[in-house]
Symmetry: C2
Subunit: 264 residues, 2 copies
DNA sequence: CGACCGTTTGATAGTGCTCAATTCAAGTGG
DNA sequence: CCACTTGAATTGAGCACTATCAAACGGTCG
């Protein structure tokens, strides 16, 4: 099960160390006024297939604006007007929906090379918050211009359709998790998903640093934070993982898989 | 909360009686070989805004193929190649995802004027089953041709984007339900959603006939069928609804609303 | 160092699941 | 036409799982 199937089997992004996520990633010069899309380390997102030089130029123009979002700050909030999609360059986000009664729930966690904002297309207003869980920066992609570019590049248009379809399929997986798995299976699936997504970005395949609290994990998984904590402790007791605060080492990946697929 | 926000506030489809769903709807002549899109009773889906005569002609060509699906049969199945979207003309469907371990879960119920197949765009293969819960017929919309038409009609392109975004937002609502509501609130929300969607199609606003079993409702809501049945009984005892098999009358809509929004 | 936030752990209660028995509705065939 | 079959729905009893409430612990940062 994957909560965020990557676009194709994207190679690890350049410049990222093939090891565990570091708390403070150096980003000196990262926000220099002019970084072309073709030198961006997530360009597989924007340029799915062969694109001519002229086309790349258009793309450069399209997403020349970037934005920093401080940890804890919102990239956008529910109710705000929708104007652009956001491609995450570096950092980590959560998306949160809120019910009328004030109750909130995390609907997903997003990392580099993933896209935020698709929820706003429908009504031209965002329907969830996008909150940075660490200092992040994103490419701002004005949606009107994106549609123009897509119009000129059918293959790019298809890529946008695929991106939205992928999000729909991802949410199917989450629904399956929320509707049919028990607490231990939910957390196991969550850990597998996170480490896989990080691995595809060049990080370790068995080690990760969580960017969110137990409460946020619980909100996403439909559990209370105490239950999340208990499941972590259970996995540690069973020797399946090692946990030091938010640093998690997966010792027995197969055991995690078995828990996900084991039915009561 | 809505699990399937309609495209704008669409007027009731023509030809549908403004009363409870009938078990056997007459559809004599419905599948006559040539029914133009502009006489189709769900054309608000296809033609969001002013469209010229020529444009309507293109559209007619696009979706001239229709398909009947018998109750219990699959419109498509997970793993099958994706080639088209399907606009439901009449009938009722469920979509079902299946985990590797064989476990299945209903991810949604679809009725007339709603679209099936968006899950297949991503990988060119469907990732869920679409099963008819009653004899249905659908317009087959070849996706390649749809993209061509969208290319010629930017406003139509936008409509497709909105449709996909709407599905993403709908699934957020389901995640909220599955992640944070108790059994009674889930069923109450489900009933409200169903009756609202039917009402927007010209049916009663307080009475409905369910097309799915208790087990299918439970699968969608993340509950066991016995729990669904018990919640029905509870609502009946409390005088909120009346139930005769799959025929449901909502006596106290406000009470249902209160149950959805009431937090423990 | 102390305050605070996040996390862990324990005890208890509630909610929904499991297993099982009936009831009900709608066919089906003698 | 009625006994029989079948699938769906209801209802009950006991239990498993997760939430709740509460307390203690630990790391971080002013």
């Amino acid at each position: 099960m994957s909560f965020n199937s990557q676009p194709h089997a994207s190679p690890p992004a350049t410049g990222l160390p093939s090891q565990v996520v570091s708390f403070q990633s150096s980003r000196a010069g990262y926000l220099a006024p002019r970084i072309a899309c073709n030198t961006c380390n997530m360009h597989e997102l924007c340029m799915p297939v062969g694109m001519s030089f002229e086309e790349v130029e258009k793309l450069n123009e399209l997403i020349s604006v970037r934005k920093r979002v401080k940890r804890g700050a919102a990239l956008y909030r529910s109710g705000e007007e929708f104007s652009a999609l956001y491609a995450i360059r570096t950092g980590f986000f959560k998306t949160v929906v809120n019910a009328e009664d004030g109750h909130e729930q995390v609907t997903g966690f997003q990392m580099a090379a993933e896209v935020l904002g698709l929820d706003g297309i429908n009504t031209n207003r965002h329907t969830c918050h996008a909150i940075a869980l660490e200092d992040s920066d994103v490419c701002v992609v004005p949606f009107g211009k994106l549609e123009e570019l897509a119009h000129d590049l059918p293959v790019f248009q298809r890529q946008i359709h695929r991106m939205m379809s992928r999000e729909i399929v991802r949410e199917h997986s989450v629904m399956l998790l929320l509707g049919s798995m028990r607490a231990d299976a939910r957390l196991a699936a969550f850990l597998i998903d996170m480490v896989q997504r990080l691995h595809s970005r060049g990080y370790s395949s068995h080690e990760l640093v969580l960017r969110m609290t137990r409460e946020e994990i619980g909100s996403f998984l439909g559990l209370k934070l105490e239950t999340v904590s208990r499941m972590f402790s259970k996995f540690v007791e069973e020797g399946i993982i090692e946990v030091k605060q938010r640093h998690v080492v997966i010792v027995e990946p197969e055991a995690l898989n078995a828990i996900v697929h084991h039915h009561p």
